[in-house]
């Protein structure tokens, strides 16, 4: 690998979050009984015509602007012709030589510094249906027949193509994370990779360091998570590196990432290259966006993740690391800010979210939206710690119970009787007991061994099953020991 440079370009498809499909009024949301969200238009019945969804254009413009693209005042749709049963018309309406947005970029803040990834184009197209192969394996070769579900057919898709500016798998993953967060902030897409509303293919090649020419590339498909993207690229770079090192050559081909075996394999394809016979879609008129529309969309752009990151650092004093993690998803950042608004100290809220909450999300493989507690509940729990009602240690088990039940911290604390004991009389009783039972430690303390005090505090905590207010125990114990002396 030494002396070789990695070159990665990404091609991303994101389903737009419109209520209706791109060219008809069918429900565009995910799911539904197969073929229940269809009409003559998205089924491509004879005689139907497409009518462009205005909202889809607006959302596409929003993203293109956020990625610093130039918006084409005049763009057109083309037909991409090929036969496949998941495409009702056997052509896909897409954009070709006049896309909606061109020439943008996205900056990534990496350890190695700022990396600028060029955006070649952002364009609109329609999604296809879904083929279900009727066999146990779900693979076409074992199936006697296949079924088609056209619920997804005609859902508006954004295609985003990057320049070959990415140099490492980490950068690629970071790009996708940042893009996802941007799309979430813009509310243009749900960005759920597992539901297929966000998909990513990668072109990978190697070339001698400093060479201006691109090496032969392989296109890697079927990466269904950020982790899969990272692993697949890592593998593919190694594969190509080994191949070149042993005197071999990379073949231009499409490769399929298999997450189970952790390798990419060539996709079985026909020998010939597809000729899509693109030509302008005669059933649609050119898309003409006037300046006032573009300016209107621009003016309506919300705060983007990078701006939010700076604000969290500057206004709330969060470290860069915290701000970066929290803004990697809009939902996470929203939760955090809502907790702060509900009175939580920012750094404390950040710690809880990046620590216990993130661990919980990962362990259960769920989204923050699926967590049963509200930001205000997190803030209230933090307030209980601040007020000394519970210790930080107890809070961890309280928080766990909150995540399991959705109950308030206060309710849990009351139910389980795990409030902190701050009643001096009760504490003094335990303290006196501890002093009586541990004369040696008392002696040590009086000889000046500070450590002995910690041991005695521990004894009191044990007697109270950890519920004693440690600061108070400390203070009272010291007073008792010194008072007797």
């Amino acid at each position: 690998m030494s002396g070789l440079e990695v070159v990665i370009g990404l091609e991303i498809h994101a389903e737009l979050k419109t209520l209706s499909k791109m060219f008809c009024s069918c429900d565009a949301s995910f799911g539904g009984e197969p073929n229940s969200r269809t009409c003559p238009v998205c089924l491509g019945l004879p005689g139907v015509l497409p009518v462009l969804n205005r909202k889809a254009v607006e959302l596409a413009t929003r993203l293109a602007l956020a990625l610093h693209c130039d918006i084409a005042p005049y763009s057109i749709f083309h037909r991409k012709n090929y036969f496949y049963p998941d495409m009702p018309k056997n052509f896909q309406i897409s954009q070709y030589d006049l896309p909606l947005g061109i020439g943008g970029y996205l900056d990534l803040e990496m350890e190695e510094g700022r990396v600028r990834v060029g955006i070649t184009r952002v364009h609109l197209e329609e999604d296809t249906g879904k083929t279900v192969h009727a066999s146990e394996s779900g693979r076409i070769h074992d199936s006697e027949y296949s079924l088609e579900d056209f619920n997804r057919a005609g859902v508006p898709l954004l295609e985003i193509v990057t320049e070959p500016d990415i140099r490492t798998p980490i950068q690629a993953r970071m790009f996708m994370q940042e893009l996802k967060s941007i799309m979430e902030h813009l509310e243009v897409s749900d960005c759920k990779m597992e539901e297929g509303s966000l998909r990513c293919d990668a072109n990978v090649s190697l070339r001698p360091q400093g060479s201006p020419q691109l090496g032969v590339k392989a296109e890697v498909k079927n990466m269904n998570s950020f982790r899969a993207l990272y692993r697949a690229l890592d593998y593919e770079i190694m594969r190509q590196g080994d191949l070149l090192a042993s005197g071999g050559e990379v073949v231009q081909e499409t490769r399929h990432w298999d997450a189970d075996s952790g390798v990419t394999t060539p996709l079985r394809t026909k020998e010939y290259a597809y000729d899509y016979r693109y030509f302008p879609e005669p059933d649609l008129v050119p898309l003409q966006l006037d300046l006032s529309f573009i300016d209107g969309v621009r003016a309506g752009l919300p705060e983007l993740p990078s701006q939010r990151r700076s604000r969290l650092q500057e206004d709330l004093g969060l470290p860069e690391h915290d701000a970066g993690l929290l803004t990697s998803s809009k939902a996470l950042a929203d939760f955090f800010e809502a907790a702060v608004d509900a009175g939580a100290e920012p750094k404390a809220a950040s710690n809880w979210m990046m620590g216990e909450l993130s661990a919980h999300l990962n362990a259960h493989n769920i989204e923050i939206s699926e967590v049963p507690i509200t930001p205000a509940q997190l803030a209230a729990m933090i307030a209980l710690i601040d007020k000394g009602v519970i210790s930080g240690k107890i809070a961890k088990s309280v928080f766990e119970a909150m995540l399991a039940s959705g109950n308030d911290a206060e309710t849990i604390v009351k139910e389980k009787g795990i409030t902190q004991i701050s009643d001096e009389e009760e504490l003094v009783r335990h303290i006196e007991e501890a002093i009586r039972e541990n004369p040696a430690s008392v002696e040590d303390y009086r000889k000046g061994k500070e450590k002995a005090l910690g041991f005695l505090v521990g004894q009191v905590m044990r007697k109270t099953k950890g519920r004693a207010n440690p600061q108070l125990v400390n203070e009272l114990l010291r007073r008792s020991l010194e008072g007797e002396g």
Partner: protein
């Protein structure tokens, strides 16, 4: 008195309004005539007689109840089988859609139903509207009511023959390169292709999307205007539909043509014209002058390339439009294939006729990588030049005129083996579709007992002037001929 089935729609409407005849009586007359001649003419692919009788009875009840039964009520109609009709099979003249029953009505059908449509049936046509003789129908040819050994023209030959033979009072056709005007001319009728975008294409099974337009076939200009008024207007389901409120053509087309500037493109008067057609044209020009119009020879040099450009653009669009007929979701599927590609191949091989296959191949070739610029790209440039030629001509002239076709109806089988000769019969009508302008064909004479048509072309959206000129000329020409009972079906 003339037989009811031979009358014009507006005449019948007057009689129905005055209570002189009921809608059901009109329908009965048409159905009796149909019974008599359909075996010979074969205008229809699918008859909808029960529904027609029910609609007629409904219209009579409405009228008896004092309600207006709608402008189309009581006028038995034929609809070209390329327009989707909910619950009524729509074959497009193709084997591949033999059993296909649409789940929705085309917009024009919706509008007509709203106006009290009495639908006699779905009219025969060249498969997917590709052809000029209706011989390319998978359901057998239609014959010309004027001479049963001759073609009625195409592709809307069934619609025209039905009206000419008295099996319908008026009809809808579709016109991609002359498919309304040429059969109207061959059958002695009035047929109009409106401005592209004036009539919704939603539910019209697409042949060439940028050229297709639905239009009326009728017995006189007045009926043509009436029917156009019923179907024209914006439709939000068709993105190419123009956002405008069409005028009431019936009143807008009144007035004379004094001072009207009439141009006759010399490119449309070249070789291939029969003497009778040439003579009829000369007579028409004289009439125009007598009526106070200023007639002049015009030149639109790029019209010479129209046919070539058309036979790139139309097949290219068709190759894509017809890709959906693959046996997966509806229509014919040939079983027994080993895999998907073979199923596609077998289905399309069995489902499409030779002319459709020829055009799919032509179009696929024209759009292929490496050939796109030379063919499709070049054809689009020619199309632009033709549009400019028309724009320039309309600076000088209000209307342009030509024969609708170089010859009257030709014999069955005469050109079916020679596609190029067949294509040439649309040489005068094709430029109109490329330019998107409106044009009408009206009967202007006979040659050897066969009707000859005059084509009047207008500016974009100037249907009014086209109709006015047509109405004035119709009156002056006083064409009263009917199919004879020797070679034809008789009046």
């Amino acid at each position: 008195m003339e037989a009811l089935y031979a009358m014009k729609a507006w005449e019948l409407q007057d009689m129905i309004d005055r209570g002189e005849v009921s809608v059901s009586e009109v329908l009965d007359a048409v159905l009796a005539r149909l019974e008599q001649v359909e075996n010979e003419v074969h205008s229809y692919i699918t008859l909808t007689l029960d529904a027609a009788r029910a609609a007629a009875a409904e219209a009579d009840r409405a009228r008896d109840g004092g309600k207006s039964p709608g402008a189309a009520a009581g006028i038995p109609m034929a609809i070209k089988d390329v327009l989707c009709t909910r619950g009524i099979r729509t074959t497009c003249g193709s084997r591949i859609l033999e059993e296909y029953i649409p789940v929705y009505d085309a917009t024009v059908l919706e509008r007509l139903r709203h106006a009290g449509l009495v639908l006699v049936g779905k009219a025969n046509m060249d498969e997917f509207a590709m052809g000029s003789s209706t011989e390319n129908s998978a359901y057998g040819p239609t014959r010309n009511p004027w001479d049963l050994e001759r073609v009625p023209g195409g592709s809307s030959g069934g619609s025209a023959a039905a009206v000419a033979a008295g099996e319908a009072i008026w009809a809808l056709g579709s016109d991609t390169g002359g498919s309304i005007r040429q059969p109207a001319s061959f059958c002695g009728l009035v047929g109009m292709k409106p401005t592209y975008g004036l009539v919704s294409r939603y539910g019209l099974v697409a042949f060439a999307s940028s050229l297709d337009q639905v239009g009326p076939i009728a017995r006189d200009v007045r009926d043509c205007a009436l029917l156009l008024s019923l179907i024209a207007g914006h439709d939000r389901r068709d993105s190419t539909s123009l956002r405008l409120e069409p005028p009431d053509y019936l009143s807008a087309m009144q007035g004379d043509i004094r001072g009207l500037r009439v141009g006759m493109p010399r490119e449309l008067m070249q070789e291939g014209l029969t003497p009778g057609v040439r003579k009829a044209m000369e007579d028409c020009l004289q009439k125009f002058e007598q009526l106070g119009a200023e007639v002049d020879e015009a030149t639109l040099p790029n019209l010479d390339y129209a046919l070539s450009a058309y036979y790139i653009i139309a097949p290219a669009e068709a190759s894509s439009n017809l890709a959906r007929f693959d046996g997966v979701r509806y229509g014919l599927r040939v079983e027994g294939a080993e895999d998907m590609m073979e199923m596609y191949g077998r289905t399309r091989a069995a489902g499409f006729g030779p002319e459709v296959k020829r055009r799919i191949m032509l179009g696929t070739y024209a759009l292929s990588a490496g050939y796109y610029e030379a063919y499709y790209g070049q054809a689009q440039k020619v199309r632009t030049l033709i549009i400019r030629d028309f724009d320039a001509a309309y600076e000088k002239y209000d209307i342009l005129v030509s024969p609708t076709t170089p010859t009257p109806a030709f014999a069955l089988g005469e050109k079916v083996e020679d596609p190029l000769a067949m294509y040439l019969s649309d040489v005068c009508t094709i430029p109109v579709n490329l330019a998107g302008i409106p044009a009408i064909s009206i009967p202007c004479g006979l040659e050897d007992g066969l009707p000859v048509g005059l084509q009047i072309m207008g500016k974009v959206l100037d249907e009014t002037t086209v109709l006015r000129a047509a109405r004035v000329m119709e009156e002056a020409l006083a064409f009263r001929e009917k199919p004879g009972s020797g070679k034809g079906v008789g009046a």
